[in-house]
Amino acid sequence: MAVKIINEKCIGCSICEKNCPFGAIKIENKLAVVLDNCTGCGVCVKDCPKNAIENNATSMSNVDITLYHGVWVFAEQRQGKLMPVAIELLGEGKRLADEIGTEVCAILCGDNVDGLVDELFEYGADKVYYANMPELSTYTADGYTDAIYRAILKYKPEIVLLGATHIGRDLGPSLAVKCGTGLTADCTKLDVDPEDKKLMQTRPAFGGNLMATIVCPGHRPQMSTVRPGVMAKAERTSGKKGQLIDLKAELKLKFKAGDIRQKVLDIVKSTAEIVNLTDAEIIVSGGNGLGNAEGFKLIKQLADKLGGTVGASRAAVDAGWIDHSHQVGQTGTTVKPKIYFACGISGAIQHLAGMQSSDYIIAINKNENAPIFEVTDYGIVGDLYKVIPAIIEALDAQAA
């Protein structure tokens, strides 16, 4: 239990019971009782009108945290190409490093990807820790965990950031357990506590219904996976240099047969058209209100007219009208285009979580009470099958 009820102050008003996001408080005999499933989120602490709840989370420590310095960014590469999220992390890592007053470093694993080292310097890395070995050509959980774990052990970074990609979310957990530290998944916001310089990691939970800010007070490094597409990319300064550390030599890295237990037999690219929602400047999304798969033809027509990309709500994907790769939202892709059209999307919280930081949101929906209108810049109540053709016509007129 992470919160404590001060029985003398508790009046059994049940505000905490109603507001607890985890259902972990019960009123018994007119006193609040904290149940086993309390996560210590602290919602009740601030809600209590009588200040009868206190957070008694104790900070434990197994390491001397003062020995840890620097912000590390996992420079994820696939087939010799840096993933965009690595550049976003360098930008964010630099910002955090500046606030703490330390350096930002990249950690790169691969086989002869020397070109990436310079790229990382140009994107702002002060140092690049480079594990250059044929065994690390393609990601494997065992190979990468081992190399990076040993680097962390030796160089002791205070923060390690990984992209929350299918690789980052495989590597991060395994690495955190090896390091005996915590890991916060899929963060959408990072900050440094101005007082003690610790990392404050904010992430959505409950399908985007709740945001939680998480800290890792007593363990190092502080590790987060960060959702792609959320942080601003680092600026590139051509010609910028930094210090290169050759991990193979420094750590005497060597892999014996059986050390890497996952054998990658093949990598298959999806034959479906690659949908790049993350980088799209304009997205036109369709939802349940389309009524059928055919409706996406109209959505595509508008998207093509605007030079945009087609998105979809979960309802449309679940109905089988369009491929999952188009899905925007908590369980799909998070996007922040300049313009987001939501057509026939009611605005379930899962969807809003993935698109509400778009610059301009335009919603078309029959139901004037649809929650989507709560986040839109311009709302149109009407039949999308009439409104969209009218918009296309207006665009044509504008162009002429």
Binding site: A141, P173, C216, L265, I274, L352, E368, V381
Partner: protein, 265 residues
């Protein structure tokens, strides 16, 4: 074959709504369900059981006593046994501490060939516990498994497809191992009425606490969690914008005009 499936009881986040006035979560009437990815994990195990006679499937979950209904659901779908790891000492665990407890539970089950877990739980969306359990047990793992291509009992290996954002990898890994399932892996089967009766009237659902697992309470729950929730809040809604009025053509012209004005198109 002996298979363990890790499962979690979660609130159905699709049913969670925000109180528009207070900005808090409304939990009243939100049903607790078997975590969807975990249902795929269980189905993967049951498919193996269909193919390999004598396979034993044990579901392991950590949670409060009420979670037994979810374990009964797993038995009703076809699992042989179920264990609930439950104790006040396990409360407030982050993924790091959770994985310690679950790994201890799996060790106590013993001699496991494959451990299936869901990729992630919908209440936390961390996707961390599966690989962390593997790391604690010293087992190889593959996450985001979208297909089990081949299981070779003799050579003690399995070939799976691991989902990537733009395709998949084909990975071979030796047994025992941990595999985490995504929803594309399969369609979970329904419970059977007769199995429900068995699960509720006859099946013995074991409940193990930290003593049963010979775990030091200091290694469990909040005590053993490096991460702490500093605060939680409901995301502030973006303010409501302008509702356009007029005929369809007027509204269409208006929106195009506004975007043009702002040099967005």
């Amino acid at each position: 074959m002996k298979i363990v499936v890790c499962a979690k009881q979660v609130p159905d986040t699709n049913e969670v709504k925000i109180d528009p006035v207070k900005g808090t979560l409304i939990r009243d009437g939100v049903p607790s369900i078997l975590n969807p990815d975990d249902a795929n994990a269980l189905e993967a195990a049951l498919k193996i059981k269909d193919d390999y006679a004598g396979t034993d499937v044990t579901v392991v979950s950590m949670g409060p006593p009420q979670a037994t209904i979810m374990l009964k659901e797993c038995i009703a779908m076809g699992a042989d046994n179920a264990v609930l790891l439950s104790s006040r000492a396990f409360g407030g665990a982050d993924t790091c501490a959770t994985s310690t407890t679950i790994a201890a539970g799996i060790k106590k089950v013993g001699d496991v060939d494959i451990i299936f877990a869901g990729r992630q739980a919908i209440d936390g969306d961390t996707a961390q516990v599966g690989p962390q359990v593997a790391q604690r047990l010293g087992l190889p793992f593959v996450t985001y498994v979208q297909n089990v291509r081949e299981l070779n009992e003799k050579e003690r290996k399995v070939v799976v497809e691991r989902q990537l954002e733009d395709g998949f990898e084909v990975i071979e890994v030796g047994l025992p191992c941990v595999l985490t399932a995504v929803k594309e892996l399969n369609t979970p089967r329904y419970m059977q009425v007769g199995r429900i009766l068995y699960a509720c009237d006859e099946a013995d659902i074991k409940v193990w606490n930290e003593q049963d697992l010979t775990l030091d309470p200091a290694d469990c729950g909040l005590n053993a969690s490096p991460t702490k929730v500093m605060r939680s809040f409901t995301p502030p809604p973006k303010g409501k914008g302008e509702m356009l009025t007029g005929t369809v053509t007027e509204m269409a012209n208006s929106v195009v005009g506004k975007l043009h004005e702002k040099h967005l198109i």
